[in-house]
């Protein structure tokens, strides 16, 4: 059964269902969308159970010619790395849809956007053909852009455009790099293809790797977002509707880090090694910087958004540790961040729905009125802080351990991020949930209802699950990560000889031999 295609395109089929519905029948539309997304989730579960953790090869592969004249295929498959990101996507989407129950403005269009978004997101993670990947990569941009721009807050237009243009400006360079790879591959093998697995076999000169890495990394760094490219994130998060934020934080940001793992490292190992210091320092600055700026925010969503910058910094640090702990930690942390930050946005959204404000100063003392909510909020907060026993810790610890193994200094500085995490998160929690209630409006707040509980509970359960028994996740990715390390040149030590090489200051790219020019 072409299960990957099924889960990818089922939402699109759902779109057609919804299109046929009367836009006045809101409840029907909501339930249909939810059902579709749940079905997708259920269908994605066999991926986990039938996934063979022993092999690093792509599994559930489907390959059909798409644009044969260009060697472009509809080629999908997953390994232990993408597996969890797909599951995360299918898991987060129903939750996000459930969290959009209050949407009444243009509901039909909203739900369509959600479903198209899901297709785009899954597509990104399963594509093994770079052209296909790029198509999905851009495809998911549109619904997200609309979600922010139509259903967002007061500065939504600015945020939406910023989001779109930031991502676009990164990805066009990636497109060029993909095309360059295509021709390089042709020169090496004589075959025209966009097959990622074929590209893995390429042996590129350092100069070429250098530039291509830059192009790819630029696209991904914006998406992650890494430090100097992050400013779209707070705006996008603040303005996006709750579900938008959840998906943005839960899945979209992962595409950047996933891109590094899937493309930059195995395709350009030598360049990746050379860039370790750069990326690591960007990650570290992101960790500390995100945390510090997060600390002083007075808008809840902005705070969580900046905390994402910090968390994703950890992921990047782990990935560029170039050892198994770091990368496994990084992947785990991707999932963790999706869960806990997604949950935080949900929580903030619930507060926003009640009070129509996100200013921390407008809250205070909510625990008294909303004990259940407080408990769940606390768990989520703690997960975000990285409390041992909850999911965040597993990822962060492995990342730091991995980073520590490769560069002690980096890890030591980065570890201080966990202190800051506690500071900004707990301070926020304290200001929102503790103290006496000073605002009259807060005195009549209702605790969360069943739907909201149903939204948060699965997240919390998985937060505990990963925290207590992470091996059920780690085991599945072992083989893939090991293989990745092999492709990427293994532990960082093996790369030392690369750094002593004479790196040209501005490496020249030579894709085309003269004979190729004329046709």
């Amino acid at each position: 059964m072409p299960i990957l295609s099924l889960i990818t395109f089922l939402p699109v089929i759902g779109v057609f269902f919804i299109l046929s519905m009367d836009s006045r029948r809101g409840e029907l539309i909501r339930i249909t969308t939810l059902l579709v997304s749940i079905v997708v989730f259920v269908l994605s579960l066999p991926l986990y159970f039938n996934f063979d953790p022993r092999g690093h090869e792509m599994q559930f592969v489907e390959k059909l010619p798409w644009i044969p004249s260009f060697g472009i295929h509809y080629h999908v498959g997953i390994d232990g790395i993408s597996l969890f990101l797909i599951l995360l996507t299918t898991f987060i989407t129903p939750i996000a849809i459930l969290a959009s129950w209050h949407i009444t403005k243009h509901l039909k269009e909203y739900m369509i956007a959600m479903l198209v978004l899901e297709t785009g997101m899954i597509g990104v993670f399963i594509s093994l053909d770079l052209f296909l990947f790029y198509v999905f990569w851009e495809l998911m941009l549109i619904p997200m852009y609309l979600l922010i721009g139509i259903w967002g807050g007061p500065r939504r237009i600015y945020a939406a455009i910023k989001f779109f243009i930031y991502t676009m400006s990164g990805s066009v360079f990636m497109l060029l790099a993909i095309i360059a790879l295509y021709f390089l591959n042709h020169r090496a093998t004589g075959e025209y293809t966009f097959n990622l697995l074929e590209f893995y076999r390429l042996e590129l000169s350092f100069a070429v790797q250098f530039w291509l890495f830059l192009a790819f990394a630029f696209a991904f760094a914006i998406k992650v977002p890494m430090f100097p490219f992050h400013t779209w994130l707070p705006d996008a998060h603040v303005e996006a509707p709750t579900a938008g934020s959840v998906i943005l934080a839960g899945v979209l940001l992962k595409m950047g880090t996933y891109g590094f793992v899937r493309f930059c490292l195995p395709l350009f190992p030598a360049a990746s090694h050379v860039f370790i210091p750069v990326v690591s320092w960007m990650a570290i600055v992101g960790i500390i910087y995100g945390a510090l700026v997060s600390m002083v925010q007075d808008d809840l969503k902005k705070l969580v958004a900046y905390s994402s910058v910090s968390h994703l910094g950890f992921v990047m640090l782990g990935i560029f540790a170039f050892n198994i702990q770091g990368i496994e930690g990084g992947i785990t942390q991707m999932i963790n961040h999706g869960l806990s930050t997604g949950a935080l946005f949900l929580v903030v959204g619930m507060l926003y729905e009640r009070r129509h404000t996100r200013m921390i100063a407008d809250f205070g003392g909510l625990t008294k009125r909303m004990p259940v909510f407080a408990t769940l909020f606390l768990i989520v907060t703690l997960s975000s802080i990285g409390l041992p026993g909850l999911n965040g810790f597993v990822g962060e610890f492995l990342i730091l351990l991995g980073a520590f193994k490769s560069r002690i200094l980096y890890a030591s500085i980065a570890t201080s991020g966990i202190i800051l995490a506690a500071v900004y998160m707990l301070w926020m929690f304290q200001r929102v949930m503790f103290h006496e209630i000073i605002h009259e409006e807060n005195k009549t707040l209702k605790d969360i209802n069943k739907r909201e509980f149903a939204i948060l509970l699965p997240l919390v359960l998985i937060i505990f699950w990963i925290g207590i028994y992470p091996n059920s996740f780690l085991r599945k990715m072992d083989a893939s990560v090991n293989h990745l390390l092999k492709q990427a040149g293994g532990e960082v030590q093996t790369a030392s000889h690369l750094q002593t090489q004479n790196v040209p200051v501005t490496p020249q790219i030579d894709i085309v031999s003269e004979t190729e020019t004329a046709w």
Binding site: I142, Y145, S169, V172, I179, Y182, A518
Partner: protein, 487 residues
Amino acid sequence: MTPASIMTFNILSILPILILSGFGMIVLFVDIFSSRRWREKNLLAYVSLLGVILAAIFARSSTGTTLFSFNETFTIDNYSLFFNFIFLLSTGLTILISHSYIRREEINHGEYYALILFSTIGMMLMAAGADLLNIYIGLEVMSVSIYILTGFKRSKLISNEASLKYFLLGAFATGFLLYGISLIYGSTGTINLKQVAGFIASKGGISDPVLLMGMGLIIVGLGFKVASVPFHTWVPDVYEGAPTAITAFMSVGPKAAGFAAFLRIFMTAFGSTHGEWQKIISILAILTMTTGNVIAIAQTNIKRMLAYSSIAHAGYLLIALVAANNIGVPGTLFYLLAYTFMNIGAFAIVIVLSRKGDECIQINDYAGLGFKHPFLAIAMTLFMLSMAGVPPMAGFVGKFYIFSAAIKSGYIGLAIIGVINSVISVYYYLRITVIMYMKEPAREFTPLTISPLIVAAIVISMVGTLHLGIFPSKVMEIAQQATLILK
């Protein structure tokens, strides 16, 4: 070639041209003899559409063959057929979107359709001409028809002005083109493209300044037609002033014809001396893209914005011309086809939304459209995103081919500037969607009367845009086949 040489003549090769000219006359006759009521019922449009369809059918029937007629001054090959198809498509779509527009603007005359058909003949001649004379005559037939069509709203000063500007500048630029042809003729002794190529081959490259200057002047003349900077200045004014349907037509048909001639001349005649002109064209490409995109950002009138966007697209196409390889040349064909769909689609929506006297063509007038007219808004979004180069729309695939071509031939800097430009372009294309979906309407929408013809045009454009975006393979293969002849 003796004076009494036997004329090689194949009726099949000029059949589409004959059909079109015949239908041009028929439309005029029908216009004279039909009653007002029939005219109201789109009769003229149907007749001309019939002509276009017939022409297309007969053009289709000669695919795969290469026919030289009139002693190799005129060729029907896959290349010209591909372009014929683009021209007929744009003509057909233009006819579809014209009807309600010209009725609203009270210029519903048979001459309108006849001129469109005649200008299509000019384009076909440009694409099929194997010597410079044919190309020149084709260019003139096309241009003169369009000068008239531009000024068709003769009671409107804006239309007169556009017409005058287009005419004066067009004639001026044609002067340069002609001068270029005369220099080429003087240098090589021939105006036949193949023979020019042969001359260059026999000399082992161009060293003759006269020939080089001729080539440069041809770039000027054709650059004017395809709206390349700095010969683009007529574009915004003329696009704004012309009847919107004609603007749509102008932005695809003549542009495609310009590129057809451009490619034919530079691939066939100057193909072996790629190095002589790639630098010039690449500078033009950079200037064209950048100017078009940057100024488009500052526009508030949608027709003007689309005009600058059309300039920018010409810039992308010039990249492919620079690359001039087996991806770039068919890529140009593909891109032009895609551009036909998306641009006419966009103008169709502009027509639907505008009022008599070309009101409501400020971008801000589209505020709140998104949920008031979801179909139109979705279609517009689709076209805008396609032009911005977002997958899975045709525009993306087109750009993909063009950048691939540039990279393949090693023009990485050009490709980088190209993608930066396409990021800039995202801004103004997105602005349309922003205004449609995210702004509150400034005023009530008066109910629109939408004729089925224009809906058909929009739907065809949408399907075309999506189909070319998702399944570009077939068309690209055909385009690749088509351009083999240019070698």
